[in-house]
């Protein structure tokens, strides 16, 4: 089994707000992240796939295909977007880094044919990142 990781970067804005909470509860829980006008991050995405090395190509996965899937499913939808308003998953969920990693996993899984998705890592900043392994 060989693991292969491809990185990508995207920039997006978001804010944290639960409509079931009062404004005071939202402010207390989410602090500065509750500003309804949003704020942004440069996100770094790392997608790790695993598989056996194809004896003919020498590849675990064709990197060009992986890059195209990541571009189409994630970057085209999220780069330079306001996550709460433009990405359907976040019409109903709070766009935390945790939920972003889960949403990216769920977008990629049905589109990856050759290799098995192992991990999605999303850096919100260099000092904060979330890993999702598809665990329930």
């Amino acid at each position: 089994m060989v693991y292969l990781t491809r990185k990508a970067e995207f920039a997006a804005s978001h804010y944290y707000h639960n409509p079931e909470f009062t404004p005071e509860q939202n402010r207390a829980l989410f602090g500065k992240c509750n500003n309804p006008n949003g704020h942004g991050h440069n996100y770094t995405l790392e997608v790790t796939v695993k598989g056996s090395v194809d004896p003919t190509s020498g590849f675990v996965v064709d990197l060009k295909e992986l890059k195209e899937v990541m571009n189409r499913e994630v970057l085209d939808a999220m780069d330079h977007r306001f996550l709460n308003k433009e990405v359907p998953e976040f019409f109903t969920q709070i766009p935390t880094t945790e939920n972003l990693a889960i949403a990216i996993w769920q977008r990629l899984v049905p589109k990856l044919k050759a290799a098995q998705l192992h991990r999605v890592r999303v850096y919100e900043t260099p000092d904060l990142f979330v890993d999702f392994y598809g665990e329930p």
């Binding site: 829980l29 945790e98 991990r119 890993d131 329930p136």
Partner: protein, 140 residues
């Protein structure tokens, strides 16, 4: 859905690697420059990884304010800008980054209740890093 959240912190501290149970020659040979009696310092990068179900109400594994508050109070406040050899944790063990990693893991394991502690990873320099998961194998 279970997710893993990792937060990085930075603190600076000094130490000297020296075992009181061993003769001076052994210490010089074993620890080399790190045995300098006056000590030396590092900028330690600390990575704390916690895991748990993502709370549907908050979208979080745990509130970062709680994790940052705990680490700031119990770890950065205790070890930052200190000579590690003078601290109770290292009264009877050498303050290698291996032992520092385990000491920090133990503080988090005993005191941080808002999420499950997965591992502690430390970079002593850009070239050396250490990780401890309470004796468990690492997942990556």
């Amino acid at each position: 859905m279970k997710a893993h959240l990792t937060r990085r912190y930075l603190f600076s501290a000094s130490h000297r690697l020296h075992s009181n149970e061993k003769p001076a020659d052994w210490n010089r040979v074993t620890y080399g420059k790190c045995n300098n009696p006056h000590g030396h310092g590092h900028n330690y990068h600390l990575e704390v990884t916690v895991s748990g179900p993502v709370d549907p109400e908050t979208g979080m594994v745990c509130n970062l304010v709680d994790l940052d508050g705990f680490v700031s109070r119990e770890i950065l406040g205790r070890f930052g800008h200190q000579n590690l050899n003078t601290l109770p944790e290292f009264a009877s063990q050498v303050p290698t980054t291996e032992n520092l990693c385990i000491a920090i893991y133990d503080i988090l394991w005993r005191g941080f209740r808002q999420a499950h502690l997965e591992k502690v990873r430390m970079e002593e320099t850009m070239m050396n890093s250490f990780a401890y998961a309470g004796g468990a194998e690492l997942r990556d």
